[in-house]
Structures are given as C-alpha cells and as structure tokens.
C-alpha cells in the first residue's frame, strides 16, 4: 500500500490484469529472448511511464498539451548527442542527463507560465505551435542533431549486447548487456510510475483535481492555480524527458521519427484515452494494449488487405493497407472518447462497484 501511495487499482479484474502485464514484462527476457519481443516489452515499459506523465497533465489537470513529445525528444536527443560527441562512457550519459533534464524543465516552465495563465485551449494551441517549431529546429540543425537522419551512438561497455555477465549455463539463459539495459529501463519506468502515483495522491495532486473540476472555485479557495498547473507541467516534462533518455539508451539512436514526431503524440493521446484518463494505472493498460496491437495487428491488416485485393473489392485494399493503420486508430480514438470516456480502467472499476 505504501508503494502504491494508498491508491490501489480498486477492482479485482484490474489488479489481475496489471499483475499479469507487469509479471509478463518482468520475465520477458527470460521467456522470450527474441529481438522483437524484447523491443515490444521495452516500448511498453517506456510508454507506460511516458503516458503516465501525460496522464498527470490530461487526466489530473485537464489541460491538453501537444508538446509532450518535445520533452520526450529533448531527453532522447540529449543522451544521444552526449554519447555521440563524447564517445561511449558513463560520463557522457551523466552529461546528457545533466543537460537534458534542466533544459526540459526550463522549457516547461516557460510554456507553463506563458500559456497556463489564460485557459486550457490556449495552452493546447501554444504547445502545438512550440512543438512543431521544435520539430523543425531539430530536423534543420543538422550539425547538432543529425537532421532527418538523427544520431546513432555506442553505449557504454556494460550495456552492450556483446557484454556477457553470466553465460548460458545453470539457468538456461544468458545475462548480457542487452538484458541489463532492459531491466534498467524496466526499473526506471516502474520508479517513475510509482513516483507519479505518489504525486497525484499527495495534497498537491488533490489540488490539481480540484482545478480540473472547477478552476474558478479552486482559485476562490485560495490556491494559486497557475503555480499548480505550471508545477504539474514541469513534473510531466521531467518524467517525459527521462523516458526519452531510456528510449535512446534502448534504441542506441535518436531521430525525429522515433522521438519527436506528431504521430507519437497521437499514440500517447490514444493510450491515455484507451487506458483511462486520470488513473495513472490506465497508462500501463493503454500502453500494453496499444503497443501489442500496433506490433501484431498490422500484420493482420496487411493479410486482410491482400485478401481484399485478391477478392477484387474496390477501396478496401487501400483502407486496410498497414500504412493506413492511423485511420483506424483515429476512428477508435473518436469512438473511445465518445463511448468510453473513462477508458478501460474506469470501466473495470465501475463493473467492480456494481454489486456492492
């Protein structure tokens, strides 16, 4: 209970699902050591943390930010550029962290103070504008960021796949640098999610919820809402940047497509909405469902597209083409905002509550 900050899942089904997901993530390197499974598991870990931090903004304060990938990208790029220019080593990783986190913090502070004064809608538009400018900057300043190609780099010795710590033997699996990196990411993400749970269940988190429900009243009660919202924005930015750093460490690469693009922003939005806004647990569920679907459903779509093409149906092959994945995602997104505004977690909780 202490670990969960007194905010348990409050639904038996939800608890079981969460335990299954976390257990599966914990044993992935032992049970499915293949590259694809590991990639999927890592992505779920990283996105669970990233989406949880976005949930702090969207679900708990009710402000829509389109700049979340910008902070994610700042994290990715700072580690990538540091490792690229200083060579592989822990000093470079530390430099990346020391530069990246304050940069994300300052930018979040500036955006928050600037745009959270007026209204949620203003914040949404300004973050969209700033994020798109940042994306352009990142792809144009190629001497620093590598432009569209991004930056690939070498990891410190300990984290490389070639480094074998325990060779295949007694337990039948090999502990190498890659597995170590995975557990680093797993632990990092878990720590961030638990920290966010702590934040939202603190008195500060309660104020955020009060602001979301009625900003005017919260202000009338004497809370300085701009301060609270900006603070939340900064925390979310820091977590997003840290998630970006973990992402860069896993991919050994940072580029506009993997860390900054608008598509990732949409993915995050979708995961929050599917999982359930304002629950934090929703982030884990949303990330797991979404990424599994993204990785394994696209194959299904391409099969369906080919089948439709063979059957000579008009239009359907184009609509079912794996590249049109976002089309169905968008429809799903609209449907879930409309029909399941509370997401999976909200649904499960309301089912659990009915008998009592």
């Amino acid at each position: 209970m202490m670990v969960l900050s007194g905010d348990p899942p409050r639904s038996r089904v939800l608890s079981i699902v969460l335990i299954v997901i976390i257990a599966a993530l914990a044993v992935t390197p032992l049970v499915f050591p293949g590259a694809k499974a590991m990639n999927v598991a890592t992505k779920i870990c990283i996105f669970a943390a990233l989406v949880a931090s976005y949930d702090l903004l969207l679900g708990y304060t009710g402000s829509v930010s389109f700049a979340h990938t910008m902070f994610y990208g700042i994290g990715s790029y700072s580690v990538a550029i540091a490792l690229y220019s200083m060579g592989p080593g822990w000093a470079a990783v530390a430099t990346g962290i020391v530069i990246g986190l304050p940069l994300a913090l300052l930018l979040a502070l500036a955006i928050g103070l600037f745009s959270l004064r007026v209204e949620a809608i203003f914040f949404a538009m300004i973050t969209l504008a700033v994020a798109s400018a940042f994306l352009v900057l990142a792809s144009q300043l190629s001497w620093l960021t590598g432009g569209e190609d991004g930056r690939s780099f070498q990891l410190p010795e300990l984290l490389r796949p070639g480094t074998v710590l325990i060779s295949k033997g007694v337990f039948g699996f090999e502990l190498n640098g890659r597995v170590l990196t995975y557990y680093l990411i797993f632990a990092g993400s878990a720590a961030m999610i638990l920290a966010l749970l702590r934040v939202v269940n603190s008195p500060f988190g309660r104020v955020l919820q009060a602001i979301r429900e009625n900003r005017f009243r919260a202000e009338a009660l004497g809370f300085r809402t701009v301060f609270h919202l900006t603070y939340a924005n900064c925390i979310a930015a820091l977590v997003a940047a840290s998630a970006g750093m973990l992402n860069a460490l896993w991919l050994r690469y940072a580029g506009p497509d993997t860390s900054l693009s608008f598509a990732i922003m949409l993915d995050i939005l979708l995961m929050v909405v599917i999982g359930g806004m304002g629950t934090i647990y929703g982030a884990i569920i949303g990330a797991a469902i979404f990424i599994l679907a993204q990785n394994y459903l696209q194959a299904l779509m391409s099969a369906a597209s080919n089948a439709a093409a063979d059957a000579g149906l008009p239009l359907l092959p184009g609509l079912l083409h794996p590249d049109r994945w976002l089309l169905w995602l968008g429809l799903l997104f609209i449907a879930s905002v409309y029909f399941f505004p509370t997401g999976v977690v909200g649904r499960l909780r309301s089912i659990g509550r009915k008998p009592s």
Partner: protein, 336 residues
Amino acid sequence: MTDLAASGALPKPKRDVLPVLLPVILALAVAPLIGSASSWVTLTVASLAMGMMIFIMASGLTLVFGLMDVLNFGHGAFIAVGAYIATLVLLPLAPYVQADSLLTNLAVLAPAAVLSMAVSGALGLVVERLLILPVYGQHLKQILMTTGGLIVAEQALYALWGPQIIPLPLPTSLRGSFIIGDVVIAKYRLLAMLVGLVVFAGIQLVLNRTKIGLLIRAGVENREMVEALGYRIRRLFLGVFMVGSGLAGLGGVMWALYREQVHASMGNDLTVLVFIVVIIGGLGSIGGCFIGALLVAMVANYGGFLVPKLALVSNILLMVAILMWRPRGLYAVTSR
C-alpha cells in the same frame, strides 16, 4: 427623439487602432534593412498575398470559436479536402487550364473553387453533427474529438488519393509576373490579394450590415440572451461552421495553387500556422485574424529574406512578442 439626440453625449467606444497600424509600422521599419526599394515592394506584395490566403483559411476557425466557444483542431482537414477536390476538377480539365486565355482559365478555376467550398462546407455539416454536437461545452473532449477527426480525414485522403504529392500547375495566364521598372509582382499573388480582400469585405459586410451578422455578433457577446430572444443559435452556429469550413476549403485551393502541389499532410502543417494567426489576432476576432495573418506572412517573408535561419521559428517569436504585449491577442473579443 430629442432624448436620443441628447444621449449623443455618451462617450463613444474607443477605437483601438494600434493593432491596425502594426503591419504598416512593421513594413516601414524593415524597409531600410532591406535596402533596395524594388525588393521591398516585391516582398511586401508577397506577404500581402500570403497573408490574405492565410486569412481565408483562418477566418472560419476564429468565427467558430468566437460564436460557440468551439475550437476545431480539425480545421486543417477542410483545407486539405478543399485542395484535393480542386484537383478533381482541374486535372481532368488540364487543356483548359493550360489554355493561354484568362477567361478560359477563370472559367475552370471558378467552378473548382466553388465545388471545393461546397464539399468542405458539406463536410463541415457532417463533422459538426457527428463530432462536435455531442461534446458542446467540454473543451477537453472537443480538442480530442476534433484531433481524432483530423487524423481520420488525413488518412482517408491518403487512402483515396495515395501518398504521393499531386502536382497542380497554375493556369497559364496566371503564371509569370508583371514587371514595372525593377519591381516584380507575380500575377497569381495579385489574384490571391483580390480574393482575400473580397472575402474580408464580404465577412465584414455580413457581420456588420445584415440581420444574421447582428445575431452572430450578439451571440459572441452573450449566447444565452440571443437564445432567450427566440433565435435558434445552434442552427446559426451550424451555418457559421459550414461557411467557415467552406472558406477553409477555398483557402486550401488557393494555397495548393500557390505551392502548385497538393498533399494530404498540408492540412496538418497549415493547422499550426492558422492557430498562430488566430491566437495573435485574439480568439473570435475577424479583424484581429486579418491583421494576424498579415503579420505572420510579413514576418515570414521579410524574415526569410533578411535572416533565413530565423524563418524557422519566426512565427513563434512573433506570437510570443504579441502575447507579451496583449496576453489575449490583438483584439480580445469574448470575455471568456
């Protein structure tokens, strides 16, 4: 009546002219930096033309927000749809587009533009009913719903027309430029300016000189009161939404001809630009939107000429500067 005449002593509402002067001041201020008069004129005309096109695209968004407090993140979709619909007319009729006669060219362009406006307006009807009606008054859901709509529209365009860039050549008689002394003025830019001015004048006339305009302005001020007087403001809003979407479609056609290409991502790209313009102008203000569009275009053109590297972030800098001066934009219309 004499009482009324006596009340003429009431103080008139102050006219706020400073924002209107802003583009003029900006144009004059950069003149010495640019140096040559001919490039200054060329750049200024280019900015005016670009500004007018942006204004056409942004006007619908600001009207919709002002009247009904609905921010449409999917506004860019109408722009892209308008451009794609125009290709349906212009590409099959290429011989007429390539004919070297202004009348023939316009005879093809006009129906293309009208069809684009009609289709994006009709799409506006569908979007309003399906996506926006269920979430009135809920900003958060509006943003999410319309963002979803933007994705679906963009992907549907990809699915229907394919991911490639469609070239859309300018009609022959609108190619090239008028050259007066050293000054080069592209013909199409003149047309764009003309259309922009007509749209601006039209919107102003409707808003200020007709009953519908009166109701719209009253609705911006106080929605409940207009409803209490027996007007169906929902229907009025639907009309405004459709007109706004249609204007976005028109803007899309003009922008596509200006760039001479059509791509599904243009809606997404232009959304950001249009948002910046609307924020600068003050949400809900047509006049502010007009000035904002001109300012954004000027900063882009002058900035691109003077400091090319700066052009990447010039819009953001402009927005920051304006919001430092007036946190709610140039003209804050609503009290919301």
